[in-house]
């Protein structure tokens, strides 16, 4: 055995020292040597007699390490993540745009970070003003006058929106309406939300043009007497604007239903097109998509809803009002028809601050440019890749473009392999296998914060992948990625024998 081999064996990944260059291995906190003092040195509590009325808790089994070890642990873990600050992140429908650090700085001002939601209103006028102004901006941009900032995420906004619709129907004696129309291309959250609200879903079929048609809509609508509403994403999840949306929303309204618009794709419209003007009654806005609040590895998000005057009485509380130079929160006592509370306190306030800072920075002119550059970028990528990948629906697209693995799949290389090849070549993949209405979908959303140069580099990589795939080196593709901190993960094992926490015996 050579010396090199000995080192490799001694420094195996199992020993958690299998480092190479800037690739670091790292064990879990519980596997580190126990330090006799913690990484925080608060004053030592005196041994007073307890007034808790209960016995004192014994050993918990928490790990204990010093501050330098903690910092190093998490910094090393961080190097295993890809992020928008690393590079292009073309994840369709997720709007991975630049997250300005100004927003972080402002959210951390003590007046925002260390204010309590139950303080007397006169001591938090600045915080209430932020919320009020955000309501005003969202209302103007969507053309929908009622705004509630309480929902904690996009899916929570959907819940708020659909419960608002349900509440409105009940108030008007239309509680028997129990069916919600959902296109087959919808986000999974849409049908899940409808069911949680006590509704049954009925599918609207997407046509071969990737859009809803008046015929397919009418077929799903029937006589409309049992329809509570429809949940439609526009632009839709194929990246296309629903060209018949005015006629469809008119038919829906005539039948007594409400139009819920999933706001995931609002980045295509912001500052340029108002959803209220194409028939939307209620819409959630993902502040973490369109308005740049960081995704944070899966939250916190924020999903305010915007609604018509007709629906405004029914939306959740609280909302912020402004009278006589004073801002205050309105609750059920002033809005008795409201569906009530959906989250503790006022919502993800820290995200409200960040979103407002972003909107003020862009202004009306900048936001319109956001939409235009986002749409331009997606169409540019489409134009450059349409000869290398199958394009299921004719363009132009909106802020994201849809490709599939047709033609490559036959060579043994599928969408998942293309995604993993992108991981190998230093990119986060696009959204894959969504929407479900096309096989092997690849949904690419560049956002307005990518330069042409960054998109050109991505296009070059995609073209190379397509060429390699055409040459049929399937085995190579099936083992991508190779240079990442971990290679392909065994997801079947994870689900069959779930290990969801560290344990001493493991």
């Amino acid at each position: 055995m050579t010396a090199e081999h000995k080192i490799t064996e001694r420094l195996s990944p199992e020993s958690h020292d299998g480092n190479r260059g800037l690739h670091y291995e790292e064990n879990l906190l519980w596997e580190k040597e126990h330090c006799d003092h913690p990484g925080v040195d608060l004053p030592q509590a005196e041994n007073i007699s307890l007034r808790t009325g209960l016995p004192e808790r014994g050993a918990i089994g928490l790990p204990q390490v010093s501050e330098p070890q903690v910092v190093r642990h998490f910094v090393r873990l961080s190097t295993w993540n890809y992020s928008i600050d690393h590079g292009f992140f073309p994840l369709g429908s997720c709007t991975m745009k630049h997250n300005p650090r100004l927003n972080e700085k402002i959210a951390r001002l003590p007046g925002f970070a260390h204010a309590h939601p139950l303080q007397p209103a006169e001591t938090v006028q600045g915080a209430l003003r932020v919320m009020y102004e955000l309501q005003e901006w969202l209302s103007e941009l969507t053309g929908l006058p009622g705004v509630c900032l309480a929902p904690a995420a996009g899916a929570h906004g959907e819940l708020a929106g659909m419960m608002t619709i349900r509440r409105a129907h009940e108030a008007k004696g239309q509680g028997h309406r129990k069916i919600v129309l959902v296109p087959d291309s919808a986000h999974g959250t849409n049908p899940a939300t409808a069911v949680i609200c006590g509704y049954t879903t009925r599918t609207i079929k997407t046509s071969e043009t990737g859009r809803l048609t008046i015929e397919s809509f009418k077929e799903a609508l029937g006589d409309g007497g049992d329809i509570a509403g429809m949940m439609v994403t526009n632009p839709n999840t194929c990246g296309l604007f629903e060209s018949d949306i005015l006629e469809i929303s008119k038919l829906l309204h005539e039948a007594g239903g409400y139009f819920y618009c999933d706001g995931a794709n609002f980045n295509a419209l912001v500052g340029k097109i108002r959803p209220g003007a194409f028939g939307v009654d209620v819409m959630h806005i993902n502040l973490h998509k369109t308005f740049s609040t960081p995704h944070g590895g899966g939250g916190p998000g924020s999903g305010p809803i915007c609604v018509t005057d007709e629906l405004a009485p029914y939306m959740p509380v609280p909302t912020v009002s402004h009278e006589n130079d004073t801002y205050r929160l309105e609750y059920e006592d002033e809005r008795p028809e409201s569906l009530g509370r959906l989250r503790g306190f006022v919502g993800q306030f820290g995200m409200h601050v960040r979103a407002l800072a972003y909107m003020m920075s862009h202004g009306a002119d900048g936001l319109k440019q956001v939409s235009e550059d986002a749409v331009l970028g997606a169409n540019y990528i489409l134009s450059q890749l349409q000869n290398d990948f199958h394009v299921p629906f004719e363009g132009p697209c909106m802020h994201e473009c849809l490709l599939t693995d047709k033609g490559l799949k036959e060579k043994g290389i599928q969408t998942i392999d293309i995604a993993k090849a992108l991981c190998e070549y230093g990119y986060h993949p696009m959204t894959i296998y969504f929407p479900l209405v096309v096989n092997g979908a690849m949904l690419i959303e560049p956002t307005e914060t990518e330069s042409k140069d960054a998109m050109d580099r991505f296009i070059t990589v995609m073209k190379s992948i397509a060429e390699d795939a055409q040459n049929g080196d399937a085995d190579k593709f099936h083992h991508f990625p190779e240079s990442t901190p971990r290679k392909r993960m065994d997801e079947v094992k994870a689900a069959r024998q779930p290990t969801l926490r560290w344990r001493e015996t493991s």
Partner: protein, 426 residues
């Protein structure tokens, strides 16, 4: 327009490549009536300095907890956050990453959240925990829905004083199920679950054995709600519960005027397939090296659509990371010391205020929060003290006031509060 990299030239060259003369040619499917005429009726773009100046002036209109003595809790708590916590969560790799759908390039987030799940399971004395929830109120509502699915029953029993927001959110969520109902008191044979908050809304800690027995007799599940998670460093763990959920904001996350906070959700392993929310599990990669992935997603909306256990799509990722970093810094001794320190400060505060004539302690026992009775309406007292820069607590009905002390409370704060309270009562 500092966030936009395109130039006039790059825009033109892209339009040429696409083959349209202007960007409006790309919006041809949009009906004319939907376009904003010109620009939206909003201010134009503003420079970084200008935005910072404006929003700083708003922030300065608020009274912040560090500005003076602060005794308000009631579900959101003012605690010390070590500097390293904010440093770590502002690292680009954590802050600007997406949900870890591609595990090969997201092991950082996945490993940290796996550690979060372990911390929550240990603290709650439960088998497993999920990757976090929006907040304590929604976690409690989701717990009740889960109990309804598991027991196929639809009555929710609230056993003691549950936080008013949690109860309101529970009511809204349950309202979507026509047969479901919430009631106070004791479980019967139709009860899906009993919800016990400890310490309860008034700060009173509770034992669980009697409730466990009632649940076993009726077949209801026992849900324990914790909204001051630091209490778990001093009070017994709710090991006998079926589900433990609540709010973990106290560790690593500022009050932030109500959010983002950090809901948590733990339960017994046998219920895992009915759990809401994201789960991270251990597995191996192609080379057999240990790693982590999002798992059991056949419960979730993107696979199950209308049959999902919940419509939740994310967690509070970055808040869960802040919690995990803070817990790592605290360690076993630091966490227990922090809990004791909180209790000690509350004992000092209770001793000091009950020396005032006419002020009565209402709790038999407490952790870091308790209710007192005053000889005057508490709303008036809170307003009078706010004028003096003291945030006096949460005004309950009539003459009752809910007070909180934490490790942030100094002896000087307590003296200043007692003096101001005496004056306001005189």
């Amino acid at each position: 327009m500092r966030y936009l990299p395109q130039t006039k030239e790059s825009r033109k060259s892209m339009l040429d490549a696409i083959g349209v003369s202007s960007v409006d040619g790309l919006y041809k499917d949009v009906p004319g009536a939907a376009f904003i005429d010109g620009l939206a009726d909003l201010p134009l773009h503003a420079g970084e300095l200008e935005v910072e100046r404006t929003l700083s002036s708003y922030a300065n209109e608020n009274h912040a907890a560090p500005d003076g003595p602060f005794f308000l809790g009631a579900g959101a708590y003012y605690h010390h956050i070590p500097a390293s916590v904010d440093h770590i969560i502002q690292r680009s790799e954590f802050l600007t990453a997406y949900t870890p759908y591609q595990p090969e390039i997201a092991q950082g987030t996945l490993t940290a959240v796996y550690e979060f799940q372990t911390f929550i399971a240990q603290l709650t004395g439960q088998d497993i925990a999920n990757a976090s929830m929006y907040d304590g109120a929604t976690a409690t509502a989701e717990a009740a829905l889960m109990a309804m699915r598991l027991t196929k029953r639809s009555k929710i029993c609230v056993g003691n004083a549950l936080h008013f927001d949690y109860r309101a959110v529970l009511k809204s969520y349950i309202g979507n199920h026509e047969e479901a109902a919430i009631f106070d008191g004791e479980p019967d044979e139709e009860t899906a679950c009993v919800i016990i908050q400890s310490p309860d809304f008034y700060g009173q800690p509770h034992g669980y054995e009697a409730w466990r027995k009632k649940c076993d007799e009726t077949g209801a599940l026992l849900i324990v709600v914790i909204n001051e998670i630091i209490s778990l460093g001093l009070l017994p763990a709710p090991e006998c519960a079926d589900i433990v959920c609540g709010e973990a904001q106290s560790i690593g996350i500022p009050m932030g005027f109500g959010g983002p906070h950090l809901g948590f959700f733990a339960c017994r392993e046998k219920y895992v397939r009915q759990m809401p929310g994201r789960l991270i599990g251990e597995t191996v990669d192609e080379d057999g090296r240990r790693g982590y992935v999002l798992t059991l997603n056949t419960r979730e909306q993107h696979i199950r659509r209308e049959k999902a256990t919940s419509n939740i799509c994310t967690n509070q990722g970055l808040c869960a990371l802040a919690f995990t970093v803070h817990m790592a810094l605290l360690g076993e001794d630091g966490f227990k010391n922090l809990a004791k320190l909180n209790h000690e400060k509350a004992c000092k505060l209770a001793n000091a205020v009950t020396e005032i004539n006419g002020v009565k302690l209402l709790n038999e026992s407490f952790f870091n929060e308790f209710a007192i009775e005053l000889p005057k309406p508490s709303k008036d007292i809170v307003a009078a003290l706010a004028d003096k820069g003291i945030i006096a607590g949460y005004a309950l009905d009539d003459n009752q006031l809910l007070l909180t002390a934490t490790e942030m409370t100094s002896d000087e704060h307590i003296s200043a509060f007692v003096a101001a309270l005496k004056e306001a009562l005189s």
